[in-house]
């Protein structure tokens, strides 16, 4: 194997691993850890939920960044990062642009969860807050929790669609 082959192999490995962490991680969080969390008392479940979510968000952001970087580098090394490879006139280009668009949607959803909804969920009331404030805070937290649930499920569906698109690339694209 030449030096070029090693670079291509490394990029492929990192790209595939990042996909696995994102997609497989989302499935594990939803279908393995969440049900396990539901089997312990609520106070402990909340601690577990916070710890797992914090760590998973780090993995998610790392994966998204690596997927983009390695994806672009792989295109460049295959000579596809040009007007021909990225042309919307052929199936490969259209599939690639759709994947990039969905990556942007995943990044936006991740941003909403990380910077808007989770801080709302983690917000603490000031001591001596009146009943109206307590009720408003509780309602805001419930809405934030619901939004997080919807967004993470939407992200899982989108990630599966991106996987389908990625699998079609070696066959010239999906549509």
């Amino acid at each position: 194997m030449t030096g070029y082959d090693w670079i291509v192999l490394t990029l492929g490995f990192v790209h595939d691993l990042s996909v696995a962490v994102y997609v497989g991680g989302a499935v594990a969080m939803e279908f393995v850890l969440a049900p396990a969390q539901a089997s312990i008392p609520p106070a402990q479940a909340q601690i577990m939920g916070e710890k797992t979510s914090n760590r998973f968000l780090v993995l998610v952001w790392s994966s998204l960044a690596l997927i983009l970087i390695t994806g672009v580098l792989r295109l460049q090394m295959n000579g596809m990062l040009n007007s021909d490879g990225l042309s919307m006139a052929d199936s490969y280009g259209r599939t690639l642009w759709t994947m990039f668009f969905l990556w942007v949607v995943l990044a936006i959803n991740g941003g909403l969860i990380t910077f808007i909804f989770r801080p709302t969920l983690q917000g603490k009331l000031q001591p001596g807050s009146n009943q109206a404030l307590v009720t408003r805070d509780r309602d805001a937290k419930m809405k934030a929790a619901t939004w997080i649930q919807h967004l993470t499920r939407a992200d899982l569906v989108l990630a599966i669609i991106v996987t389908l698109l990625g699998a079609s690339l070696s066959r010239g694209g999906l549509f």
């Binding site: 082959d5 991680g25 499935v27 393995v32 402990q44 577990m48 996987t163 079609s168 070696s170």
Partner: protein, 161 residues
Amino acid sequence: METLLTTLLATIHVLAWSIYVGGAIIMELVLRHAQASMRPSQVAVVCQKAGHRYRWWSCLCLALLLLTGLALARPIVPGSPETIVLIILGSVWLALVLILALLSFYIHPEMHIRVSSSMTEEEVGRERQRVGRAIVRMDITVRIELALALFAVLLGAALHL
């Protein structure tokens, strides 16, 4: 139509290894991290529930990997680099199946503490030590499993060179 079928099979193949490897990474990097801040009694409950679910997912993923891998297999050229990689990949798959069987039928059942009210303090202590050894065996086995899974991803990347 054939291209669409191949793409669907490839998608299932990718999802199967993604869920398998991603799940293993989450169990190692996320669940272990969370366990450090939980009470030991709750750790046991969570690990048992999560471990049980993840085993079923692993079983499904390994089965789908075999089926879709066989369906997508190209004609083998004896001695070619691709064939060698495929043979190693098949061996790793087999090793992962054996590890899953070991975890499911021996290691996880051994981790259940069996204490009865008629046991002496010494017997309870010996039982706790036995479970402690089973937990260490499980830790080593799942880390070997994770290492093999990562190696399989590397081999898969090599197939696309």
